[in-house]
């Protein structure tokens, strides 16, 4: 099994790991990957991947608005919002 580049995985997942917790998570991930590595031994040549229990195409519906306007109720859930906008730290210099 290849060494896990945990820093890269944590960066992709946007989860900050402290040095202490990184050691524990690395050990946990090694254990979980050792468990799931059993999959590698199975010959699946010619088997189609199953992404879903329903082998059906997705339903289509008319392209019309179905949701009621709840802007104020939804914005009220945000940690910070102002003038109908979500507020985040500055992203453009």
């Amino acid at each position: 099994m290849p060494a896990i580049d945990l820093d890269r995985i944590a960066e992709l997942a946007r989860i900050e790991l402290t040095p202490d917790s990184a050691a524990a998570f690395r050990a946990d991930l090694q254990r979980v990957l050792a468990l799931v590595d059993r999959l590698q031994a199975v010959d699946t040549t010619g088997v189609a991947p199953m992404s879903h229990p329903l082998d059906l195409p997705q339903r289509l519906r008319e392209d019309v608005v179905t949701e009621a306007d709840q802007r104020d109720a939804l914005l009220a859930l945000a940690p910070t919002a102002e003038n109908g906008l979500y507020l985040v730290p500055q992203v453009i210099e």
């Binding site: 995985i9 979980v32 088997v47 992404s51 985040v88 730290p89």
Partner: protein, 492 residues
Amino acid sequence: MSAERLLTSSLRELAAALAEGRTRAEALADAALERAQALQERLNAFITLTPEAARAAARAADERRRAGNVSLLSGIPLAHKDLFCTRGVRTTAASRMLAEFVPPYDAFVVERLADAGAVSIGKTNLDEFAMGSANEHSHFGPCRNPWDTSRIAGGSSGGSAAAVAAGIVPVATGTDTGGSVRQPAAMCGVTGIKPSYGRVSRYGIIAYASSLDQAGVIARSAEDCALALTAIEGFDPRDSTSLDRPSEDHAAALAAADGQLDGLRLGLPREFFAAEGLDADVRSAVEAAARTYESLGARLVEVSLPRAELAIPAYYVIAPAEASSNLARYDGVRYGYRAPDYADLDDMYRKTRAQGFGDEVKRRILVGTYVLSHGYYDAYYLQAQKLRRLIAEDYRQAFDSCDLILAPTAPTTAWRLGEKGQDPVQEYLQDIYTIGANLAGLPALSHPCGFDSAGLPIGCQLIGPYLAETRLLLAAHAFQGKTDWHRQLPPL
């Protein structure tokens, strides 16, 4: 009607008491709330109790009854797993991330049961975002087993199973992604059903792994599960996986049954009974249950699920992969927790997610991110999906020679809190008998079938072909007509 009567009454008995004026919805709600509060410190089955909303809903149910507007669930107290969104009532998923989240809408299941007149008394404990098999991974502390409060209630729907087992409510909702309805039902000595994938709308259920998640119910008997399930089935255009077909009246089918199972072929998968780690008491109780089924007219046949052992590795690739995608939405911007201090936007995401998620959720997000990342996708995620098809095919073939599969629900009874220690894999291995039904999308239920030498409940699982919920419930109902394991009450 006293709280003690509530403890042992079936839904039909409660409905009759309400119809005949021997009790009122408000009295039942009060009794359920009182018992919930009295047991909260010992069990921690609830994250939120909603006494005011419950009493208002109960009074409304009493009003409607006076106006002649009733269904069988009118005035029946129940509880929802805190993964179902409830309008105006905080919905936490047992996570710090959503500890203050108050949804502006109800989940489909919540709406259906409220429309039927049922009275929710609150939100039950669970593993954070439904990730766990013990209900130990909760931001609000572990739920405890009513049969022995030093032990786990099972997970992830531990609070719902414990609340039913403790006689707080006769029925509670749950969700089952890898066994989260059936395994806690087994651990707590109650009955729980996970319907076929697509049977019950997931609208308003906080997502974990979308190709596996399904809503279900936990109650004291198969009959009560049938009544509750009948109320929550049906097409919902707001869930793209909802089946567009008429719902079936499972409860009516049970009422018409004669209690015999003549000719029913029950398949016992030889790999399940040979699995390492199957406790001897569990094995003998499940084998005794099989003989009881035989005495009701069923025929036992041996079947094979050759890739049963591979269900765990397939599941622990697919579920974390989907979870890592589903949980990307928790970014501290639109709702939920936001870290108080951060340097910039990216730092806000990282700190919000580091502080908002518990360790098991982080583990699954990291595993999921890994198996989906460049260079590993084919080897893990795609390979797991191919295995998933082979596993589903094994079940399909098994149903060529049987009508239902009979198996243990879990390899052991409830373990002690903290006993599985620091190795997450030890907990994952407990899911061996339940995750196959999720991978294949099949309906399955767990019902009590005995006790181990420590007096802890044992669950027997029935798995059916796609959409065979009625067949599952009929079989378990016949079993419960001949046995009284489901009537046993914990020594609280």
